[in-house]
């Protein structure tokens, strides 16, 4: 009897049952880690032994050593079930054993492997090496794993552990991925190795797919908007290569999509928008396409500290060395020189600008060409920027290319540094000419220039040289403001004024003596006339007339300025007339003098006669005086 159909149906039913049944992970994962590798004898540390997907009857034997004492121990289990894409549910059992331990002696100590016995097989973790010092050890804890070197400690969120996303790059520190609630089996995760940095300093952005399902392909990736950053590609895998990562105790396959270096170009809090990706899961007809959006990020960018050298660009950040490569330092006129300014180091290679090559006018320096070579290492952008100049000597002689300085900020040392080159001396000689040795990089115009510039070009213009000799002159006032000048100008005028003053004074003094003498004589004459009046009633008429005559003569001499005693009456009359004396006064004068002559010789004894003579003399003087 032939059975038809039943056997095939049963087989399909079993296969269907198997397909829908939960899938147990096939591999047992077993490893142990410590939270630090350097401890003191007075310190404690934590040893964690992790068992993933072990059978229920598996026997775990924790490491035992006489070098350590176990202060406490705990055991925890976790089961995760994930359903995705129509595939079978994946169940994972995770058991962890935590031992709080303390070393009993100093030295290089080893924690022996833990063992796991399951299904007749024995699994062993790696041993863990510890450095134990006397007392307390300094420094932050550093984890070491035993048994799964490539995998991070899944419980690192409880401790300060290295970045699992940085691979073996100890510089990188990523924040803890957070499993989204809705898409826990497949999510997109963006992370930064640092979120607090200086302007121009590098941060590394990594974009991962975390998946617990099989991926077929990533169809499209939209990177975040990176406003405020200069970006450089560090890693962009063409094939999906997953690595095992455990997040919150749940193992994932992490696929790196992109890794970029970010160099902030401005300070402040900069936002990185979420990335997006279209991902196809499953195989062939069972696969389907999902859209995932990553988390956004924030970066705090600090401005460069104060004290920056003047005119330093914000892009000059990192660690740099600078050198000068001169093709030759002794050339013939007309032969070009290639000078390379080489800046190499770690930082934003493509955004730094090496200092411009300068030189004397005798060296014609053409516009340079710039080439960059990036050599990322451990996710850090580094490399070299070469600025190549073509220098064409214009004259024979020895010329110097001055030193170059490149100031930059070193964020690791948090201080400004300066990379510099030494001056280069170039000797240009008069040669036979010829442009056969021109470099191939020269353009035709440069070759033409080279052919035309085999002469010692002596042009006018340019800066005239400094003077070799100096006649030193101290600060001084203008000539006309110096004291001697003022004195010299005023001295002749002063002399002239002095002479005039003295002459005037002398004249005035001379005039003053003659007049005074006249006044004195007139005064004496009046006094004598007053004496004569006392004698007019006396018996001696002669004495009276003598006094009157003396008074009149003295008065006339005082008024006329010359002696009148010896003059005849006619001569006296003429003198008086010449002096402008009127006739009446002249007659009176002559009457008085005649009366006096008569009186002295006996006449004029009558008192009335005396009074008349005296009155006439007084009238002559008074009128004259007026």
């Amino acid at each position: 009897m032939r059975r038809t159909g039943s056997g095939r149906t049963a087989l399909l039913a079993v296969l269907a049952l198997l397909a829908t049944a939960p899938a147990w992970a096939a591999d047992i994962e077993f490893y142990q880690t410590v939270d630090r590798t350097e401890v003191g004898t007075d310190d404690t540390f934590k040893l964690t032994v992790v068992v993933v997907d072990a059978p229920s009857n598996a026997q775990v034997r924790l490491p035992e050593s006489n070098d350590f004492e176990v202060l406490s121990s705990s055991r925890g289990s976790q089961r995760s079930i994930s359903l995705s894409g129509g595939g079978p549910a994946v169940i994972q059992d995770i058991t962890r054993h935590e031992l709080l331990m303390r070393p009993l002696r100093a030295g290089k100590l080893t924690i022996p492997p833990a063992t796991l016995t399951a299904g007749g097989r024995t699994y062993r973790t790696d041993a863990v090496q510890l450095t134990v010092r006397e007392g307390h050890a300094s420094g932050a804890p550093q984890a070491q794993q035993g048994g799964r070197n490539a995998l991070p400690d899944p419980f690192r969120n409880f401790r300060n552990m290295p970045d699992p996303f940085g691979g073996d790059d100890s510089d990188m520190e990523a924040d803890e991925p957070v499993i989204p609630r809705g898409d826990s089996d497949l999510f997109l995760r963006a992370s930064l190795d640092r979120d607090d940095l200086y302007v121009g300093e590098q941060a590394t952005l990594s974009l991962y797919i975390y998946s617990r399902v099989d991926l077929s392909s990533v169809d499209a990736v939209t990177m975040p908007k990176l406003e405020g950053f200069w970006t450089e590609e560090v890693e962009s895998p063409t094939q999906l290569t997953g690595e095992q990562k455990v997040v919150d105790g749940i193992p994932y396959r992490a696929y790196l999509l992109r890794r970029r270096a970010l160099f902030p170009v401005k300070s402040g809090t900069l936002l990185i928008t979420p990335a997006e990706a279209d991902i196809t899961t499953g195989f062939l007809f069972a696969g389907h396409r999902v859209h995932r959006v990553s988390n956004g990020l924030k970066v705090k960018v600090r401005p460069l500290p104060s004290g920056a050298p003047p005119n330093m660009s914000n892009a000059n950040v990192g660690s740099w060395r600078m050198s000068l490569d001169v093709s030759q330092t002794r050339v013939e006129l007309g032969q070009p020189i290639t000078v390379k300014v080489i800046l190499e180091g770690q930082g934003n290679v493509k955004n730094v600008t090496p200092p411009k090559l300068t030189g004397p006018a005798s060296l014609k320096i053409y516009e340079p060409t710039t080439t960059d070579r990036l050599m990322p290492n451990r996710n850090r952008i580094q490399g070299r920027r070469v600025v190549e100049y073509l220098v064409m000597p214009q004259r024979t002689g020895t010329f110097t290319l001055p030193e170059l300085r490149f100031p930059y900020f070193d964020p690791s040392r948090r201080q400004y540094e300066t990379a510099r080159t030494d001056p280069v001396t170039i000797t240009v000689e008069a040669g036979a000419g010829g442009v056969s040795s021109l470099p191939s990089t020269m353009t035709p115009s440069q070759v033409a220039d080279a052919a035309n510039e085999q002469k010692n070009v002596l042009t006018t213009g340019g800066l005239r040289p400094v003077r070799a000799q100096a006649h030193f002159v101290g600060p001084s006032q203008p000539v006309w403001m110096r004291p001697f000048f003022v004195v010299g100008v005023l001295a002749p005028l002063g002399l002239l004024a002095g002479v005039a003053f003295v002459g005037g004074m002398r004249g005035r003094l001379a005039t003053r003596s003659e007049a005074g003498r006249g006044r004195q004589q007139a005064k004496a004459a009046r006094k004598r006339l007053a004496e004569a009046e006392k004698l007019k009633a006396g018996a001696d008429a002669g004495a009276f007339y003598v006094e009157v005559e003396k008074a009149m003569v003295g008065f006339l001499e005082a008024q006329l300025g010359f002696p009148v005693g010896g003059l005849t009456r006619e001569a006296l009359g003429e003198k008086l007339a010449a002096a402008g004396v009127d006739a009446e006064r002249r007659a009176r004068v002559l009457f008085v003098l005649e009366a006096c002559d008569l009186g002295r010789y006996g006449g004029g004894v009558e008192p009335g006669e005396r009074r008349k003579v005296l009155a006439t003399a007084a009238a002559v003087m008074e009128g004259w005086a007026a």
Binding site: F472, V473, P475, W480
Partner: protein, 241 residues
Amino acid sequence: MSDAATQGYYTAEEAEAVFQQANDAYGREDYATAQAHYEKLIAHGFGGPDVLYNLGTTHLARGDLGRAVLALEQARKQGGRASDLEANLSLARARQVDKVVGAAADEAFLPRLAAATDGAAVAWVFFVAWLVGFALLLFRRVFPSLRRTAVAVVAGLCLTAAVPAVLLLGAHIWVHQNVHEAVVLSPTLVARELPRSEGRSLFEVHAGLKVQLLEETGKYVRIRLPNGLEGWAERDGVAEI
């Protein structure tokens, strides 16, 4: 060398040594050192047109256009024109940012007259003519019998020559007292309508431009450009020649 230079901080030999060090530094294109030495000489009374010329040339080599023009103009003011000085001044002017456009304002007669003549020479001509004229008059009076006519003629010529000389000297004194020229030192200097920081900006001038200072109020000076443009600028931005 003047008396001022022989006494004080340096001896003449030391000053000469400093000058040569400055020149050597200039030759090595160590312009900062050269500038420091030249400035030290001037600060200690060992200036003069040669040192000022070298200082200006050093500034020019360093690209400091404002101080270059200032030092070269001071050298010209002290020592008059020289071919190398004029060449470097022309080079400095060629590098200036500013181009003063428009009909030049009529410069007053006296400044032009003073610029065309040497004030010190004029002063000395007047001084000598004046003294000699009066000395001859005195001689004629003291010694009336000796060539009275000839002495009188020479004295008259001297005093006659002293008249235009003193007029020219007066022009120099007036210009010295009233006309103040300066050079813009700031890379960019804003000329405002009023001597206040919030005053409306009229125009900007740049390093190396020669301007005239008209008046000063607080930290502002009123400047006039060769074409007559005027505005108030910060005093620190200019230096008087």
